[in-house]
């Protein structure tokens, strides 16, 4: 038992406590989520920055080769920081019912577990466990058509997960590994037809959670129907772990399977990026806009990752972590807008910049980060993904990155219609609590954008090892 285990399960316990006794209050939730972030930050500072740290390994189901194996390499550590910060900001900011905050905390454990699991079965358990609080939040606190959205979400996830479960079992038994531990599995990579089938099995579950076209279809409804505070949406954004799972599990376990499908995967990623960005242009409310915008960004991350290059992998992971913060932050920001205007729609309320300049400035920074402005969090990941993707396919890269033009169109159009043009409603500017949120999210965005080296130099060795699996020069 070490710091990682404590940090991992602390949110679950705090979440359960909060659901059982909401009387513990918001302060409790703040201390819990803040504490988790501080712990993660401390772990990052103490992290040796190479290899796997904070390792705990104990047999869970010994004879079956299933272990409780948790530890953090640089990629896991980076994503832990992004997740714990975003959850903390969400708890800090979102005007959500306390029980719902409890579910969000429970969900945090699932997410942290996904990024820290070093055993494939344990990964699967966390992957599925995370679904429960997500469903609860949607089902209990969602909008009028939440049940429709809930069934869709659950079905996509569960139906996608079944092939993955089969693939997980096959990965070990067909590859001949002694356990489900990552090291064992990687030492027995699959060959031939088995590799293709196993990769395909992973693909369905992970494409749902990346998401990639057409398996993204659950996501807009999920966001549309979730609680307007944006907390559940931010948590849902963090749940888009497909990129990571491809990187950590699917591609290294079945490299041949990936390579066989690579042209198709690149095409799919490129299409997802441009398709979703374009559709976002047609969106009439914030949640849909952010949903499609987020899908588009994950398409860019995916084309970087599927290039099988070190640049692309660094870009994909960086973009994933950064998008947790700015997309999550954007959903929370939209919650602020909803609190003031009572609508998610883009258009009816205009000219907010006049009465709420600080609010408008925060929105501008988030929007600019979202559309990949250099110097902010969105750019380094997108750019490295582009460098990698270009090596794999210039044409598909061109198609995928057409989305940055569409992104400018949809994001700035929406921003203008809410914050600019002649004022028809005055709203209060940022409260002190909201200023706290603004400072936190802007600091993170600026740090990632201005000094990406802090994290890219940590991701680079992992990315090189990853690229070497596919014969890619580092």
């Amino acid at each position: 038992m070490n710091l990682a285990d404590i940090t991992l399960f602390l949110p679950l316990l705090a979440g359960i406590a909060l659901v059982v006794w909401p009387g513990l209050g918001r302060a409790f939730a703040l201390v819990a989520s803040g504490g988790v972030f501080v712990l993660a930050l401390a772990m990052f500072l103490l992290h040796p920055k190479e290899g796997i740290a904070y390792l705990t390994q104990a047999p869970l189901l010994g004879p079956a080769g299933i272990y409780y194996a948790v530890g953090l390499d640089n990629a896991g550590m980076f994503l832990w920081l992004a997740v714990t910060l975003t959850v903390f900001l969400g708890v800090w900011m979102a005007p959500a019912p306390l029980r719902m905050v409890g579910y969000a905390l429970m969900m945090e454990t699932g997410l942290l577990g996904i990024f820290a699991s070093l055993d494939l079965v344990l990964f699967y358990v966390f992957f599925e466990f995370t679904l429960i609080p997500a469903l609860l939040m949607l089902g209990l606190y969602g909008g009028r058509e939440r049940m429709q959205a809930l069934y869709t979400f659950a079905l996509f996830t569960l139906v996608g997960s079944l092939p993955m479960l089969a693939a997980i079992l096959a990965a070990r038994f067909l590859g001949g590994a002694e356990s489900f531990l990552i090291g064992d599995l990687q030492n027995h990579p699959l060959k031939g037809v088995a590799a293709s089938w196993v990769f395909l099995g992973f693909f369905f579950a992970l494409a749902v959670k990346t998401p990639l076209f057409p398996l993204h279809a659950w996501l807009p409804g999920f966001h549309q129907q979730n609680h307007p505070s944006g907390l559940a949406d931010a948590m849902g954004t963090l749940y888009k772990v497909g990129i990571f799972a491809f990187f950590r599990w699917a591609m290294p376990i079945a490299p041949e399977g990936f390579q066989g499908l690579q042209p198709l995967l690149l095409t799919l990623a490129a299409f997802t990026a441009i398709y979703a960005a374009w559709a976002a242009w047609g969106a009439k409310d914030w949640k849909n806009l952010l949903a499609y915008g987020g899908i588009s960004h994950m398409g860019l991350a995916a084309i970087g990752l599927f290039s099988g290059t070190a640049e692309g992998a660094v870009g994909a992971l960086f973009l994933l972590g950064a998008s947790f913060i700015y997309t999550g932050g954007m959903f929370l920001f939209v919650g602020l807008l909803f609190e003031r205007t009572g609508t998610m729609e883009i258009g009816p309320v205009r000219g907010l910049a006049k009465s709420a300049p600080a609010l408008a400035a925060l929105g501008m920074i988030l929007v600019m980060s979202m559309i990949g402005l250099p110097g902010l969090a969105g750019f380094p990941g997108e750019f490295m993904a582009l460098l990698g993707a270009y090596k794999a396919s210039p044409w598909l890269t061109f198609i995928a990155f057409l989305s940055i033009i569409a992104a400018a169109a949809y994001a700035l159009t929406a921003y203008q219609k809410v914050f600019h043009e002649s004022e028809n409603r005055a709203v209060p500017d940022l409260t002190p609590r909201e200023w706290g949120f603004a400072v936190g999210v802007v600091a993170a965005i600026a740090l990632l954008g201005l000094y990406p080296k802090l994290f890219t130099q940590l991701l680079q060795p992992l990315a090189k090892a990853f690229a070497a699996l596919f014969g890619g020069a580092a």
Binding site: L61, I66, Y124, L135, A280, F379, K391, A409, H420
Partner: protein, 611 residues
């Protein structure tokens, strides 16, 4: 010492942060003074470093394999001096121009942001760093065009500028992707060094050059991406002077010059640069004739002059392109700010039909306007004359791309330029005043910067004189530009050409002076002017055939995506089935459902591993 170079960028950036956060609590003119002071500090610091032989600074591996590197050499030094020097004067002018505006401090915050980003752009020694500045100035431009955002037109123009620029930026990004794949680095000096040694001329070089050029086309508003610049005049006048005339729009020219070692190896791409430049020069000049907004005339002349610069770059005459950047920065900033003084004098009026007769009312601004218009028109011995003449010279002698066709067409454009600059001057300053305001001269804080700019517009051309006179600029820039050997013409021929361009300019100026004082225009001209006023309907064509279809497709995709769920027919049926089953359960039981999922998953798992 290198960190001092970073400081030139950080100073105005600090101004942006400071004024952005606390500017509202400061009293006018403090924010303006702070902002101007910081730009001046950058100017002094940059000049000192330049005099000391330049400077370098870098964060290695800012991104893996990509350094955040800055390099102050003669080329970036020249741009730094223009950006901070002219920028400083415009800041000072803005203190007067923006007086009593509710967004006074916000305006100066944005201006400082722009300077910081522009310095990042010019000092960059890595294409990625340049791209940071590149999109950064795009942001500043967006914020400033839409400065008076309550007006929908302004907000629309700002958005249009950003989006159109992004089209070019995609080219820039892909160009970097290709350079990275070819060279394994994006360091500008490194790539230049490799190319200069001729060790490595990869096959894809032409494509990379073309892609980067696409970025330049967007930023410098060349055909076909020129549509954003005239609309950008929606911003306050100092913005038009600073961003959309003197500095930002010349970034495309700077990109070509900075990459001259690349372009010198791909004359076929350079030919395209020259052709697009020529088209832009002609299009801008023809469109300037029909404009009725005092600033839009100047804006179209900027388009046209940028075209001149691109022609020079396409010829491989990089120092000449930069020479025109320099002279243009002076006389175009002057023209804009003289226009601003007129607008200021008339209480915000921008329509030249309601002007006229300003010669009587504005005893100082009239000289600024006259100098600016003459320099733009190429009046002999003024700055614009020398740089334009050098461009004409380059179209005849400089490289494989030089040709009489370019010379003749560009000379004709120069003639048109002289004519429309006289139209601008005559309509605004001569004749009778046609409005109902009480024109008054601007305050000193606005006149003083214009005095200095006027001096520059007159004299700066003398640093780039043709032979046999000493040419300071060419020698200064030579170490940082690709060098092209070419056969120089005889002095007689050279000075005959100088004489021809002088005569053409004088003829244009005189004809313009006479022609536009007529009360009634000939019908052929009226018909032409009407098409010109609508900029030959390019915007309408783009909207009809490009923007609107794309927008509709967006809506279609969005609505279609909602239908996608239905496309999962089996899933839909399943959903409905389970839905009707669960419909009887109260929502409270959803927890059980969720728990069921987990139990089911665990059971499956146990079955899987123990079977």
């Amino acid at each position: 010492m290198g960190w001092l170079l970073l400081l030139t960028i950080l100073l105005p950036l600090l101004g942006f942060v400071l004024l952005g956060l606390f500017g509202k609590r400061m009293k006018e003119p403090l924010p303006g003074v702070i902002a101007s002071g910081l730009v001046l500090a950058s100017l002094v610091l940059g000049a000192v470093l330049l005099a000391g032989g330049g400077a370098q600074w870098a964060i290695p591996d800012w991104l893996p394999g990509i350094a955040f590197s800055l390099n102050l050499d003669h080329l970036s030094g020249l741009m730094l001096l223009i950006v901070t020097g002219v920028g400083f004067l415009i800041h000072v002018y803005a203190i007067g121009y923006m007086h009593a505006d509710a967004g006074f401090s916000r305006f100066f915050a944005y201006l400082n942001l722009f300077i910081a980003m522009m310095l990042t752009l010019v000092l960059a020694d890595n294409y990625v760093v340049m791209f940071i500045g590149w999109e950064g100035v795009g942001l500043a431009s967006y914020l400033l065009i839409g400065f008076w955002y309550q007006d929908r037109v302004n907000a629309d123009s700002a958005r249009k500028a950003f989006i159109v620029n992004r089209i070019g930026d995609l080219g820039f990004l892909l160009g970097m992707g290709l350079l990275w794949a070819m060279f394994g680095t994006l360091g500008i000096s490194e790539i230049n060094a490799k190319l200069e040694e001729n060790l490595f001329i990869p096959a894809g070089l032409g494509l990379a050059a073309f892609l980067l050029f696409a970025g330049a086309v967007g930023k410098s508003a060349q055909v076909p991406l020129m549509v954003w610049l005239p609309d950008a005049m929606a911003g306050p006048t100092p913005v038009s002077a600073l961003i959309h005339a003197a500095t930002m729009v010349t970034a495309g020219v700077y990109l070509l010059a900075r990459s001259s070692f690349l372009y010198i190896n791909v004359p076929e791409v350079s030919l395209w640069i020259a052709i697009l430049g020529l088209l832009t020069a002609i299009y801008g000049a023809l469109s300037a004739f029909g404009q009725q907004d005092i600033k839009r005339i100047v804006a179209y002349s900027t388009l046209s002059q940028l075209g001149f610069m691109f022609v020079a770059a396409g010829m491989g005459a990089y120092w000449i392109a930069l020479f025109h950047v320099l002279t243009h920065a002076f006389f175009k900033a002057l023209l804009f700010m003289a226009s601003g003084s007129v607008i200021h004098a008339l209480g915000g009026e921008q329509d030249i039909r309601k002007m006229g007769g300003m010669w009587r009312y504005l005893p100082q601004t009239r000289w600024h306007a006259l100098v600016g218009a003459l320099a733009l028109g190429g009046f002999p011995l003024l700055s614009g004359f020398w740089s334009k003449d050098a461009i004409l010279y380059s179209t005849l002698f400089y490289s494989v791309n030089s040709s009489v066709v370019f010379y003749v067409l560009l000379l004709a454009t120069a003639f048109l330029t002289a004519m429309y600059s006289m139209r601008w001057f005559v309509t605004v300053f001569l004749g009778q005043y046609r409005g109902h305001e009480h024109p008054h001269e601007s305050p000193k804080v606005m006149l003083f910067p214009n005095h200095l700019l006027a001096l520059g517009a007159v004299f700066i051309g003398f640093i780039g004189l043709p032979e046999p006179f000493p040419n300071l600029l060419e020698g200064f820039l030579a170490p940082n530009l690709a060098h092209l050997e070419y056969e120089k013409p005889s002095l007689t021929l050279e000075w005959t050409l100088v004489l021809i361009s002088a005569l053409v300019a004088l003829a244009g100026l005189y004809l313009g002076y006479r022609f536009f004082q007529q009360k009634v225009m000939p019908t052929w001209y009226a018909r032409f002017a009407q098409a010109s006023e609508h900029s030959f309907y390019v915007d309408q064509v783009y909207n009809t055939f490009l923007v609107n279809p794309l927008k509709s497709l967006g809506s279609l995709l969005f609505d279609g995506d909602k239908g996608l769920l239905g496309g999962f027919g089996w899933l839909g049926t399943l959903t409905a089935g389970i839905g009707s089953l669960l419909a009887r359960l109260e929502t409270g039981y959803i927890r059980f459902y969720a728990a069921g999922l987990l139990i089911g998953a665990v059971l499956l798992l146990i079955w899987g591993v123990t079977r």
